[in-house]
């Protein structure tokens, strides 16, 4: 599907030159303040979007609806009638993208912490056939202290319970090819999804690559994502998985 014309053929935004159908999955829960901006940025790069509103109680859905209507045919919007968590939302997004014939699925947080310019580099290993899954790795040194420690802790926990050693287990920017998306057997409804994806990569022996990405830590994004309470929940989940 043609996007907007590409000014610079060598720019990382040259998605038109990619002979694969890339869909960006955006899980959104109460992101009315920022989702408009995020969606416009992605659309301006000619990307196709699957937006899943996870039962937001603010204007997230309407804002996404309006932007989608002004970019007809370039995205889909779905809404869970009630909040079911990040994991459930990503799973809905992956199901939709598979049904729409996506070759590559990229998960992209709606809170504005990712740089849209990172999408193509994250897809590259899949386009070249080197990988089934790519995880965008944030630079931990850029993170505020609390985030850094909690992310390192989650890496450690992921290693202990799933035996998978990755640089950034909680990253929200990832890419899957169809093969990987079909193979993923994920059940976590909440933030545990990130670690569960890592587990699945290991269990299903998917080829994984890690690509450095930029993280934009705004005050807004800081208040979201993995905090201590969520971390404990993920830990309990992992202990349960380990006992299965």
């Amino acid at each position: 599907m043609p996007g907007k014309p590409v000014e610079n053929i060598n720019s990382p935004q040259s998605f038109n030159l990619v002979d694969m159908d890339i869909w960006v999955i955006i899980p959104a829960y109460n992101e009315e303040k920022i989702i408009g901006e995020v969606l416009e940025e992605l659309f301006s790069r000619g990307l196709k979007l699957v937006i899943i509103d996870d039962g937001s109680i603010d204007r997230t859905y309407q804002i996404a609806r309006n932007i989608l209507d002004s970019n007809p045919g370039r995205g889909y919007l779905y809404k869970h009638p009630i909040n079911r968590g990040l994991g459930a939302t990503l799973k809905t997004g992956i199901e939709v993208s598979l049904a729409k014939g996506a070759d590559i699925m990229v998960t992209f947080d709606a809170d504005g912490q990712h740089n849209p310019d990172d999408i193509l580099p994250v897809c590259q290993p899949i386009i070249r056939g080197h990988a089934d899954v790519v995880i965008g790795v944030r630079d931990f040194d850029d993170m505020p202290g609390v985030k850094k420690v909690s992310n390192q802790l989650m890496n450690l926990i992921t290693r202990i319970f799933y035996g998978a050693s990755v640089k950034d287990s909680q990253s929200g920017l990832r890419a899957f090819n169809r093969n990987a998306a079909v193979a993923l057997d994920i059940e976590s409804r909440e933030y545990g999804i990130s670690s569960e994806i890592i587990r699945e990569i290991k269990h299903k022996e998917l080829k994984m690559e890690e690509v450095p990405i930029e993280t934009i830590y705004t005050d807004y994004a800081m208040a979201k994502g993995t905090n201590l309470k969520v971390g404990i929940k993920i830990l309990v989940r992992m202990i349960k998985d380990a006992l299965k």
Binding site: R65, D69, Y78, K79, P81, R84, A88, T92, E95, E187
Partner: protein, 121 residues
């Protein structure tokens, strides 16, 4: 043999439990398996209330020592088991709710964008 107060209480709770279990079963709110398990629990409760000395046999058997301790320990284990079952059940229900939420979302594709859908058709 005069019964102590706790024995009456035990017997009454056992009978109420039995009746309640049967009603739940008759209303199809309890499976046959669960009815059997619960019936055994209530009957054992009634039996032990009438013959508390029987617990001494179990106490000797398990080496726990006192009859009452055996009952308390068994009760605790039973409670943990039930909590475990309830936890699993809730987990299953959560997953089913998620499944329904997803189905509803998928069925209502692009809702609120009627004009656009009409254009496409």
């Amino acid at each position: 043999m005069a019964l102590m107060l706790y024995q009456y209480i035990g017997i009454i709770i056992g009978i109420v439990g039995l009746i309640y279990s049967f009603i739940r079963f008759r209303e199809s709110k309890m499976s046959l398996g669960m009815l059997l398990i619960w019936s055994v629990v209530w009957i054992v409760l009634i039996f032990l209330s009438i013959f508390p000395d029987a617990t001494v046999y179990f106490a000797d058997l398990t080496g726990i020592g006192r009859g009452l301790d055996v009952i308390l320990i068994l009760g605790l284990i039973g409670c943990f088991y039930l909590i475990f079952r309830i936890y699993n059940k809730i987990e299953n229900i959560e997953q089913e709710i998620t499944h329904i939420a997803r189905e509803i979302a998928l069925q209502q594709e692009n809702i609120g964008s009627k004009e656009k859908k009409d254009e496409e058709n």
